[in-house]
């Protein structure tokens, strides 16, 4: 939660190192990449191309997307050779959140 103007440090100074980790850039997303594991061949092209390091990998397998940080650029879906990632409007999911 961002503080009120009286509590924030002046000039936007940040005194806590690494605090950007707390910022969920995924909130900016308008389109969400939806992963279908059945179609995935684990080629890792999405992992290579993702500009936000938001492709989650476990034991050399693609397992999903980090929605806290994915901005919804759609590069992963564009590069995916098997259409295992599909871009869907974010509003379809927001109510669930």
């Amino acid at each position: 939660m961002i503080k009120g103007w009286r509590e924030l440090k002046i000039g936007g100074v940040i005194t806590e190192p690494g605090s950007s980790e707390k910022y969920n850039t995924g909130e900016w997303r308008a389109w969400r990449p939806v992963f279908e594991a059945d179609k995935c061949v684990n080629c890792m092209l999405c992992w290579v191309f993702c500009p936000d390091s938001s492709i989650l990998v476990e034991e050399e397998k693609m397992v999903g997307v980090d929605y806290d940080h994915c901005k919804g650029c759609g590069i992963c879906a564009h590069e995916c050779p098997t259409n295992a990632l599909e871009m869907k409007p974010e509003y379809l999911f927001r109510e669930e959140d």
Partner: protein, 402 residues
Amino acid sequence: MRPELIKEVTYVPYSGNMAAAEAMRQINPDVVAAYPITPQTELMQFFADFVANGLVDSEYIPVESEHSAMSACVGAAAAGSRAMTATAGPGLAYMWEVLGIASGMRLPIVMTVVNRALSAPINIHGDQSDMMGARDQGWIMLFSENAEEQYDNLIQAIRIAEDERTRLPVMVGMDGFVISHAIERVRLLPDRAVEEFVGELKPMYPLLDVDNPVTHGAVAMTDSYMEFKRQQREAMTNAYKVIKEVGEAFEEAFGRKYEHIETYKTEDADYILVITGSAAGTAKYVVDKLREEKSIKAGLIKIRTFRPFPYNDVMDAIEASNCKAIGIFDRAETFGGASGPLFEEVATTQYLRRKYYPMTGFIYGLGGRDTNVNHIEEAIDKLMRLAAGEEIPLVNYLNLKE
């Protein structure tokens, strides 16, 4: 230890640029980054001499543009050092983006602006279009009437900027050539007294404090940008008090009085002139002349602090007078606005007290056009006709070829 040049109060024949450079020598800032532009060039040349001769400890950065000059000052100030610069007219325009960065990052940078007209047509002479154009960039703004005021204002500006209640950059304007290049008597203060008055900078969140790492200039999106702007408004409100306090401290230390405004014979005045910068000197002369020759009671309010604008001070002076009409002298245009920028502030001042006086605006001295005694007399004549009920336009150009 740098040599002590001036050991006691000394009277010298100095130009505004020399006086400003001398103030900078005595302040001895950690970093000075500047780019030459007429009529400020001479100021930086004098300061460069001080650097070359070992009379200051300053790191002097001759940059490739004014955008870079202010950027270097921003970096230096964020690092935790005392940074100063100077510019003029188009140089200030080129700095415009970084002006907002300096104030938004709350960096106490102090800058002389030798007020110069903006192009086109190209013109190197004095007017205040430059600073008036930058008036909403979050800087504290002071205007000087003469070389000595520029010297005194710069020294005070350091304390105003660095006060923890403000932490805002300050620009101090002096009219190009009329002040910057004219030689006047200036009273210099002793080196050590100035050093003591400005004191040591107490850095806030300095980048060079490696034990306490900080980030300066981070992004603030829709969820927090407005909160930082609100802080800036608060700092500007605080600045009103701080400028006053520093002025009082200066008077106590050195005997010269500085307030947000200077009133000249307003107490019994029927006609009030509001003016800023060098033309205030000529206007004071006209006030005296008309009182002596024609028994016309005019008085003058000189605006020293333009940001934060001293609404209450101006209105107190007007209400305490016998005001029948107010004439605002603007050395800058606001094309499409009611009249000049100063006019708008004084109009707002009246609104705030729900008091309305007949008022008109005089645009003068653009591009260094002379404003002589007869032009100010002509303006006061218009004010008298306005007070008598005659229709006078809101915009009156003085000394214009019709």
